[in-house]
Amino acid sequence: MPLSFQDLPVGRDARINELGNASDRLHELGLTPGTIIRLVRVAPFGDPVEIEVRGARLCLRRSEASGIRVSLVE
């Protein structure tokens, strides 16, 4: 089921479908279409979030990844 990055639940693996208007830096850091990412945790005030991608941990703001569409993998 496709959903927006904003709605990604914590701890679930999801595959990137499209990047939308996300910054170029995101795909250069490995967030390319088809990549599996996981939302690891959310900062105390709800933003930013920590995600795991390609064996690394990135911290980013939800709003900056809002264009990314993902689908959960079972």
């Binding site: 959310v42 005030f45 933003d47 930013p48 690394a56 941990r57 911290c59 980013l60 703001r61 900056e64």
Partner: protein
């Protein structure tokens, strides 16, 4: 490569992703002392050093980290200029890769490999990362791969040998990244043209990321245009395709060379992060940690400080009789040199303890987590979590802090960060706080309140910075909210040798400043207070005039000393400007000390030592006692809680550092912004000092 009289030279550059260990390797190779820290973006400027083996001098360049050949921030632009040839051609690129973060390192490698330059790979973190199949890696990369653990001096010899061999017979990698057939063929065709640039640039043109320059020949342009149309038609264009292909290649290499186990480092980091970035515990621990830092600066340093004070007193007592023959030299040495410089040196322990904590925070990787925790609190005003690291650096000193703002991709966020960075309470302010807290707060309210006051003084700058940044972003800079992306480092134990080195360096800088700038300033101040000498008869006349009017007077000797101060050049100047600072509770002596500290705030304690020391006449006391007992002309105590606090607040907020102003000018390339920072901080400091004094003057 050039050859001078029998000696070969070469230039190599250490490039790679941020935080892979480039500077650690650079330091080990060249014996330099570049800053190292466990977070991305430590190095923001090029550094040079060299080593000599087998009769060849190899000049090394340490380069800021970068993620790709597209620079998004100033530090990356600096790095990119080196890769594009820069001012000085580089003979060999040493690509530094972190064995625990292969895919992003391989991504960058795949781009640099297409620049057509000789490359070798230095593989770091092999002591903590899973064992890689090095032969397979070298085969896939097409260049030599040398594992190193630079801080333990492992692999350096092999690396130098490989560098030497590669300089003699350069290897330019030729790797198959697996771009779609059509793209591959297109590149192949374009490479045929004599004027074709390196493959990386061709790819940028071909995939429509960049337009070719105007001066290329017609047939080359025609071929390029045709191929671009063709690829666009086949839906093979754009930056994402480029990244996607490279990452697919990187993933396949990683899969081949890395054992298929989960890394124990990452799970350890995860366990720590579950607590340190927890919604509740994370914030509590952060606050507690910061409080602990300042409390221990206060309490741990006190015995050491007393030791230095005693030593200075003994020195003064020992030297005094030797100079008895010449009153002028005696006063200069005792009041000016030992009083002034010694008064500053007393604070060496605090500075070293502060830097101990900063080095530990930087070495563990906690800094990036602090940015994660704080982003929301800083974000609303237009700063972002990325600003946290430059701001925290500014607690040591604003100059590296202002420079560290280079890592911020957004120019507006960077400017806002630069302009508020000097508000953070740097280590040079520490002596003033410790001095005044020690005299006016600790004796009455105890060490807990003393530590708390020190903590609040350090928070004040940050608390003021947030609304200032908000106003800047709203009114002056105007911009949208800014992107914030940060790669989390794995936790590490701080390397104690690095921590000690940092403390040692800072101590050296502090003592050097005390021995040069502060010494010169205190001698100047001393002279301006010593001359012109008022005659003893004038003073006695004034004394007898006063004693007939008032019952309570000090001894003639102290009165003479005071009289001399007031009649001196600096005394006259001080009394002329003092009315402006009267609402903040400062008399002419405090005002003079403040004004003298405008070029460099470190001067203030030295200045106060001289001014208050000389005012005591023969039996000069050390500064703390002198401050506690100093009186106004009407006999009431000069200082109390009110003006002790207002003095601290003034120091916390004022931009008393010419070097910072110069650095802001260099970084923003604008004198306007530099003086803006100076101006707004001075005004804020003045107003806040007045408010503080008016609020606290009544508190007994």
């Amino acid at each position: 490569m050039s050859t001078t009289i029998g000696q070969k030279t070469a230039r190599i550059a250490l490039v790679g992703k941020p935080n892979v260990g480039k500077s650690t390797l650079f330091n080990a190779l060249t014996g330099s002392n570049q800053k190292i820290g466990n977070y991305p973006g430590v190095t923001v400027e090029i550094a040079k050093g060299s080593y000599c083996v087998q009769g060849r001098v190899v000049e090394c360049i340490d380069v800021p980290g970068l993620y790709s050949l597209r620079a998004m921030s100033e530090d990356e632009s600096v790095a990119l200029r080196v890769l594009q040839g820069g001012d000085e051609p580089v003979d060999l690129y040493v690509i530094v890769m972190d064995a625990g973060s292969m895919e992003r390192c391989l991504f960058l490698y795949s781009q640099v490999a297409e620049l057509g330059k000789p490359i070798i790979v230095a593989l770091t973190m092999t002591d903590v990362a899973p064992n890689l199949d090095l032969e397979a890696l070298a085969a896939r990369l097409g260049v030599p791969v040398v594992p190193v653990v630079a801080h333990k001096n492992e692999g350096l010899k092999e690396l130098q040998d490989t560098i030497e061999r590669t300089l003699e017979s350069p290897v330019v990698p030729d790797i198959e990244l697996g771009f779609p057939e059509r793209v591959r063929l297109a590149i192949q065709r374009l490479v045929e043209f004599k004027q074709a640039p390196n493959i990386h640039t061709l790819r940028l043109w071909l995939l429509r990321e960049e337009e070719p320059p105007r001066h290329i020949s017609d047939d080359f342009r025609a071929a390029l245009t045709e191929l671009r149309e063709d690829l666009l038609g086949a839906n093979l264009s754009g930056k994402v395709l480029d990244s996607q292909t490279r990452y697919a290649w990187a993933a396949s290499v990683r899969k081949q060379v890395e054992p298929a186990t989960t890394s124990p480092m990452q799970s350890r980091t995860d366990r720590i992060d579950r607590i340190l970035t927890h919604r509740v515990w994370g914030l509590l621990i952060f606050a507690a940690l910061m409080y602990l830092v300042f409390q221990s600066i206060y309490t741990l340093a006190t015995p050491l400080m007393d030791g230095i004070e005693t030593a200075m007193g003994a020195l003064s007592d020992g030297v005094s009789p030797l100079l008895a023959g010449s009153p002028l030299v005696h006063d200069l040495v005792i009041d000016g040199v030992i009083g002034g410089v010694g008064g500053v040196l007393v604070f060496l322990p605090q500075i070293m303890i502060l830097f101990f904590f900063i080095a530990v925070l930087e070495g563990t990787g906690y800094l990036a987590r602090a940015a994660f925790l704080m982003d929301r609190l800083l974000g609303w005003c237009g700063l972002n979590g990325r600003a946290f690291i430059p701001l925290l650096s500014s607690y040591a000193c604003a100059i590296p802090g202002v420079m560290a703002a280079r890592v911020m991709p957004d120019p507006k966020a960077r400017l806002a960060t630069i302009l508020v960075a000097p508000l953070m309470s740097c280590s040079a302010r520490l002596p003033v706080y410790v001095l005044l807290i020690g005299v006016f707060i600790e004796p009455k309210y105890g060490t807990a309140v003393a530590g708390l006051t020190l903590f609040i003084m350090h928070l004040l700058g940050l608390a003021v910075a947030v609304p200032v940044a908000w106003i800047l972003n709203r009114g002056v800079l105007k911009g949208p909210r800014l992107p914030f992306l940060l790669e989390f480092p794995r936790y590490q134990w701080p390397r104690w040798r690095d921590v000690l080195a940092t403390m040692g360096n800072k101590a050296k800088t502090f003592v050097t400043t005390a021995g040069t700038v502060i010494l010169a300033m205190t001698i100047l101040i001393w002279a301006a207070l010593y001359f012109p000498q008022s005659s003893s008869s004038d003073a006695q006349a004034a004394f007898s005039r006063l004693s007939t009017q008032q019952q309570e007077v000090t001894s003639l000797e102290t009165f003479e000393a005071q009289y001399q101060l007031e009649q001196s050049f600096l005394g006259r100047f001080g009394r002329a400007v003092a009315p402006a600072f009267e609402p903040a509770g400062f008399d002419w002596r405090l005002t003079t000390s403040l004004v003298a500290a405008f070029p460099a705030r470190e001067v203030v304690v030295g200045a106060m030592s001289v001014i208050f020391g000389m005012g005591e006449g023969e039996d000069s006391k050390e500064l703390r006692t002198a401050l506690a007992t100093a009186t106004r002309p009407d006999g009431t105590p000069l200082m109390n809680l009110g003006n002790a606090l207002s003095m601290m607040v003034f120091f916390a907020l004022c931009c008393q550092c010419l070097t910072t102003v110069a650095t802001i000018q260099a970084e923003t390339k604008s004198a306007k912004w530099a003086w803006f920072a100076f101006g707004y901080m001075t005004v804020l400091a003045y107003l806040f000092a007045i408010v503080t004094y008016q609020l606290f003057r009544g508190v007994a």
